[in-house]
């Protein structure tokens, strides 16, 4: 199945999409903002704990595995190209410095944090719900997005069927060299395009007959946020404001390439605790 959403009945799944989206947004912002390894690690662990609570750790891990490949490149590039004064060891003409190593670790943690938050968005928010939340911003765009989610398996299925029909006409997809395989697959494009065009006309017709664009619409799931959800959203928004303010004051910002190291005071731990306190309400989840 191509649909990544995991329909389990976890606390996190039962929570309305809006606090979840606010949470993911906050974490995304932090992954861009923060560079300190301790801060990033703490938030990464927090997101992993939430994944465990949402029963999506396995799926998150499968995404992180891909991020790991990217991370390897990040490390290699930074270690090879960055300069620094504290040489750890030398391999031939290349000097590996502690600055470049710390910077690489920081970059990778940012990536992992962003990916794990994205995983929560993908695996723990039903696409319809996510789209409905966004539909308050632009309904037509959202419907188009929903349609693509809906049609993705259909088109994938179409392309499988076309490949089957091609095989029955003697096209080899899995034998021969790379170029031969690419050429064979190119045959699928035209029928897929024709079929998709036919489908889009049919769908447009169906939508028209169901009153799409007829006038002012109502919204079925106009569920009011309850107090708990409102407080969650407030807490996550506050964490963003808090994060940005403290970042301006220099917290969580470590310039490893210019020799920053692990020097933390009590204030750092207090700030970190505030981050965790502001973000962890999501663990309370939703449900009756």
């Amino acid at each position: 199945m191509f649909f990544p959403y995991k329909g389990t009945a976890s606390r996190i799944h039962l929570l309305d999409a809006r606090p979840k989206i606010a949470f993911v947004l906050a974490v995304f912002i932090f992954s861009i903002l923060l560079s300190d390894i301790l801060y990033l690690s703490a938030l990464f662990v927090l997101v992993l704990v939430i994944s465990i609570s949402a029963h999506t750790l396995k799926s998150t891990w499968s995404l992180l595995r891909y991020a790991l490949y990217v991370a390897i490149f990040v490390v290699i590039f930074n270690v090879l190209l960055s300069s620094g004064r504290h040489v750890l060891f030398v391999i031939g003409p290349i000097a590996i410095t502690s600055e470049s190593v710390l910077f690489s670790i920081s970059m990778c943690l940012r990536l992992f944090l962003a990916v794990s938050a994205f995983a929560l968005l993908t695996f723990a928010i039903h696409p319809d719900e996510a789209l409905r939340t966004m539909s308050r911003v632009g309904y037509k765009t959202t419907t188009a997005l929903s349609l693509s989610t809906r049609m993705y398996p259909t088109i994938a299925n179409d392309s499988r069927n076309i490949m089957d029909s091609m095989r029955a006409r003697g096209v080899e997809f899995d034998q021969g060299g790379f170029l031969k395989k690419v050429k064979a697959r190119a045959n699928v494009v035209m029928p897929l395009l024709f079929n998709s065009l036919d489908r889009s006309v049919a769908i447009a017709e169906a939508m028209e007959t169901r009153g799409f664009g007829a006038g002012k619409r109502t919204n079925y799931s106009e569920s009011r946020l309850n107090r708990r959800q409102k407080m969650m959203i407030a807490s996550f928004v506050l964490s963003i404001v808090f994060g940005i303010s403290l970042f301006v004051l220099g917290y969580g910002n470590a310039d490893y390439l210019n020799g920053a190291g692990f020097h933390y005071g009590v204030d750092d731990f207090l700030v970190l605790a505030a981050y965790v306190i502001l973000l962890s309400p999501i663990l309370a989840g939703g449900g009756k």
Binding site: M1, F3, G7, H126, P127, D128, R132, T143, S146, L147, T149, R150, P153, T154, N157, D158, N161, I162, D164, S165, R167, A168, R169, G170, V171, E172, F173, D174, Q175, N187, M190, P191, F194, N195, D198, R199, A202, I203, A204, E205, A206, M207, E208, T209, R210, G211, F212, G213, A214, G215, K216, R217, T218, N219, Y220, E222
Partner: protein, 488 residues
């Protein structure tokens, strides 16, 4: 009331009208069946009733259509959504949302139905249609029958006065189709919803209609009760006695294909549980069975499109799982459900050349093979035609031509009669019978009992993961005209 007054419509680019000077009236609460050959203008008429024609298609439109007094040319089709609902042939192409609940409310949201009322209607119709079971299921995971029911439920929740259905059962098996049609009848009787149904499969739906409109060449040629129109349907060749063209005696000879103890599961759900099948020369074997019983999965094992998880398939002495589908395409031809998957070249000729080139056939043989194929399939006049411009029946035959041109010994067809009208089906039946007499072995999947009764030498039913022999006589009974007119 929907009133059609002297409607004439020509699609843009076409040289003659598809509907000509057509007038009729459809009243609230009627169950109207519209029948006629492919291309007679049935679907066009349906689309004119709610203004999709002309607003969606352009073309030349004269006369007028009034829906409860509103002219369709002066109102957008979406504005008729609260009066006329429409259910289309392919459920895949009319469901917009990802889950059933959201699908049900999509139309109501568009109409601006208040939230409280939407909630009431969702409960009411979900219960009525028994949709609650899969309320939160992802729509692509539903079966064809379930999808079509969701489509109908979603349209009905908008409380239209009329529902137009354009061949809604063409993708359903007999049992699901009967359930669907009975359901329509119930809606008609209990809610007074006007039903306007277009169908090719008269044996399925004639019994349900109060009124039958017969169309031919863009005009209405008969309009009346079931009993009144039956003679016209017979004259038009839309209804006829079952004429069995073959003898079902067992054929001797070496088996061409042998499948032994085939097992196959999808996501740990067993679908095939020990299927045995032997195909001999000059047989036409039909496989029938409910939607989702695994028929398509089974035939894909025969040419290696799917590999059995247990068991083996031997084709002319070769173990199929050890070779690629393409490498045995010369021996075993396969046509999937959608003929459009086979059509992408500029002309039919080029389509056939594509196959010949892939199969590595000597170019000197091409012309003779193409001529033979096109003449067998009655497509000689269309050699240079763009395949996507053809009618439904012609497309089906063109797709078949792309396989037949390789002259396989075995031909495997997945629901080749789907969406074909009576005439096209007869044509296909005659072609297959001709090929069988020439020594080809044909295996096909179909829900069409009549087609089986007329053309199959043997019939098998796939049930509970195994193939069971069924008698042709039973098929004849099921397809008999008594069943057609509902007089049983």
């Amino acid at each position: 009331m929907i009133s059609v007054e002297r409607l004439t419509f020509t699609y843009s680019g076409a040289d003659r009208p598809v509907i000509e000077e057509l007038s009729t009236e459809i009243r609230e609460g009627e169950f109207v069946l519209i029948v006629g050959k492919s291309g007679c203008g049935k679907s066009t008429l349906c689309r004119a009733l709610n203004g999709l024609i002309p607003s969606f298609y352009g073309g030349q439109f004269s006369g007028r259509v009034l829906v409860d007094g509103r002219d369709t040319r002066q109102t957008a089709p979406s504005k008729f959504a609260d009066v006329i609902g429409m259910v289309f042939q392919d459920p895949e192409n009319q469901l917009v949302m990802t889950n059933v609940e959201n699908e049900m409310v999509f139309g109501m949201e568009n109409l601006g139905v208040p939230v409280r009322e939407m909630k009431e209607r969702v409960v009411q119709y979900a219960d009525y249609f028994d949709l609650r079971r899969f309320f939160h299921r992802f729509i692509p995971e539903l079966s064809g029958g379930e999808k079509q029911k969701v489509a109908l439920g979603s349209v009905l929740a908008m409380k239209p006065k009329y529902i137009i259905l354009d061949e809604p059962t063409s993708q359903l098996d007999a049992e699901n189709a009967a359930l669907f049609l009975e359901f329509l009848t119930k809606l008609n009787r209990e809610f007074g919803v006007g039903i306007i149904l277009v169908e090719h499969r008269l044996e399925r739906c004639l019994r349900y209609a109060d009124r039958v409109i017969v169309m031919d060449d863009g005009r209405i040629v008969a309009d009346g009760s079931k009993d009144e129109v039956v003679p016209v349907l017979r004259r038009q060749g839309l209804l006829g006695d079952i004429i069995r063209a073959v003898s079902a005696t067992a054929l001797d000879g070496e088996p061409l294909l042998t499948a032994r103890n085939i097992h196959f599961s999808y996501d740990h759900t067993p679908l095939l549980e020990g299927v045995d099948l032997v195909l001999k020369k000059s047989e036409l074997v039909a496989i029938t069975g409910a939607n989702g019983s695994g028929k398509s999965t089974l035939i894909k094992q025969l040419n290696g499109l799917l590999k059995p998880q247990k068991g083996s398939v031997t084709l002319l002495g070769t173990e199929v799982s050890s070779v690629t589908t393409a490498s045995i395409a010369k021996e075993i031809g396969y046509m999937g459900q959608n003929p459009n998957d086979y059509l992408f070249e500029e002309t039919i000729e080029k389509e056939l050349e594509f196959t010949l080139s892939n199969l590595g056939i000597d170019a000197n043989e091409w012309n003779e093979r193409i001529e033979w194929t096109l003449s067998v399939l009655d497509l000689s006049g269309c050699r240079k035609t763009f395949p996507r411009d053809l009618s439904c029946g012609q497309r089906e035959r063109t797709a078949l031509a792309t396989i037949l041109v390789g002259r396989p010994q075995i031909l495997v067809l997945d629901e080749p009669t789907r969406g074909l009208d009576y005439w096209s089906k007869n044509k296909l039946g005659a072609v297959l019978e001709d090929l069988r007499r020439q020594g080809m072995t044909i295996l096909l999947i179909t829900h069409d009992y009549r087609f089986i009764a007329e053309h199959a030498t043997r019939v098998l039913r796939l049930k509970d993961g195994k193939l069971h022999g069924t008698s042709i006589d039973q098929m004849i009974f099921l397809a008999s005209e008594n069943a057609v007119t509902g007089d049983v």
